[in-house]
Amino acid sequence: MQLTSSAAAVNADLLHFVLRTPRWFWIAAAVLGLVLAVGIAGEVVMIVVGLQVLGLTNTVSWAVLITNFIFWVGISHAGVMISAILRLTHAEWRRPITRCSEVLAIFALLTAALFPLIHSGRVWRTIYWVFPYDFTRDIWPNIRSALIWDPAAILTYLTGTVLFVYVGLLPDLAVARARSSGFRRRLYAALSLGFRGTSRQWRIQATASLLLSALILPVFVSVHSIVAWDLSMAILPAWHTTLLAPYFVIGAVHSGVAGVVIVMAVLRRALRLEAYITREHFENIGRLQLVVAFGYIFFFLSDFYFGLFSRDAIEEQIWHLRLFESPTNLLMYAQILTTIVLPLPLWFIPRVRQNPALMFFISIGVNIGMWLERYLLVVTPQSLKQPFVFTWVSTYEPRPMEYLFTFVAMAIVATGVLVFAKLLPIVPLAEIKEGLTTDAAGHLPRA
């Protein structure tokens, strides 16, 4: 097929869902809208009734909502990591999956940012604590608190990711403008800023792609390190460890890559992208998951060993609670099973890696396990807070509202990705076309 007809076919395929709406979109949008409405109702109830709708106790003050925050920040990580590293290394197979990874990162991060706000109970007051400006009380945010570093890091990461996606979208918006009409045409024309595809503009695009990739990678590492420091800057045993930052980062990559696999599998099926997101992509990302899983095992075991070798009585009790006391130990066994024991041997089998459905279900399992890992890291050390032993306080148990918010978070991310895919090309047209013009060495096939 000639490049001209190939490029036209790429435009037709990848803009099909953007410009035409199948019936299933409305059904999906209605279901997700309903879940979001229930979530908003839950938030209103929590504001009116108060934080007692959560299962928090005198000792366990950070629980499911903060677990959700850490989990979704983690999911947001691999998106940009995959995109940036694959761009910097000129990995050819990156082309169809970079944007969906970046978009997942944006919506996961936005969802994560909701949870500290919800957790605060009085959402509107958080601005006094975070925003770097004195409003009325002559009290400024305390930059010595890790809770101030956190919004600074997340704001940087979110802004960087949005701009990263936007720069890559410019050429695709110009194509979408040419293929659309009416309001959409005006919207795409405005957003594309009149991008024309001159040689200079393509050169700038190529340079910008590398520059932004290189700039966003340190932010990606810093964000989850700072999220880990939310815990490790406290003097609580099992939280107060230097290991927590890299452990959180590798855990974030483990869950994030699994998140990207889930999105890839769903988009491939729903948008009929089998010709673009192929089994080879799942094969490659499966290999990546294998490598990341080994890194994760190293940090998981290090956390365990250092916990025991510290000979700290409280830390030993925390590990006893995690390993031997029901129901906490069941959660820990489920975590180990779904993040390490089951996926690792399966990822060694090429046929499994090349099977999108299997990769989808394994990745769902990994993310269930990673959520449990975050929960155990956050909740169990608080359950044994010393020296304030509130013996009359019952064990922490999540309440229905916490389950609801956890479920709604998934719907928020799904809605974000769905709406993005409906309005803008979720597979980068320009990158796919670039792949058609070059061979693996970056030269024209006939040059």
Binding site: Q2, L3, T4, S5, A7, A8, V10, N11, P132, D134, I139, W140, P141, N142, I143, R144, W149, A152, L155, T156, T159, G160, L163, V167, L170, P171, A174, V175, A178, L193, G194, F195, R196, G197, T198, S199, R200, Q201, W202, R203, I204, Q205, A206, T207, A208, L211, L212, L215, I216, P218, S222, I226, L429, A430, K433, T437, T438, G442, L444, A447
Partner: protein, 165 residues
């Protein structure tokens, strides 16, 4: 202005070389494509740009803003903790790191827009065939004789269409 439409990159490259041999300057010739071809595919001149400078300027600005913010907030709310100095450098480093990178990223994107000459007011012609994978060669030629010469050269080298814009 003339816009030649080409199907093959080799044809456009041939036309480009012929036009330059006929004394059309590099600034008079602009390749338009919806496909990012490798640099120099069409024999066009590589225009220098300064995109690499933008992240450094942005980083410096971000660092300065971060410094102002961190020092300003600590001095505006002089909360002495444990007898330690008021200006605490280790936590400042976290904010400074983020502010520096945020500045670098924002300036890089501003640089992309500036160096790409966006929003586009160049008056370069549009043709929907370019968005569908064909290649365009815009030739600036004001004199009718030069226009005729350019059109002839482009057609000789495989332009499937030449339109006056």
């Amino acid at each position: 202005m003339l816009l030649g439409i080409f199907r093959e990159p080799e044809a456009l490259r041939g036309a480009m070389l012929a036009l330059r041999a006929a004394a059309f300057g590099g600034r008079d010739l602009t390749v338009l494509s919806s496909v990012p071809y490798p640099e120099g595919t069409f024999g066009e001149e590589a225009e220098p740009h300064r995109l690499h400078v933008f992240p450094f300027v942005g980083a410096a600005c971000g660092f300065a803003v971060g410094l102002l913010l961190t020092i300003g907030t600590q001095l505006s709310n002089p909360l002495v903790t444990g007898g330690k100095p008021l200006l605490s450098i280790p936590p400042m480093l976290n904010i400074l790191f983020e502010a520096t990178l945020l500045g670098a990223i924002i300036f890089t994107v501003a640089g992309v827009i500036f160096e790409s000459r966006l929003p586009d007011v160049s008056g370069l012609p549009r043709d929907p065939r370019i968005e569908e994978g064909m290649l365009g060669l815009a030739v600036r030629a004001s004199a009718p004789t030069r226009q005729g010469e350019a059109e002839q050269l482009m057609r000789e080298h495989g332009a499937i269409d030449v339109v006056q814009c």
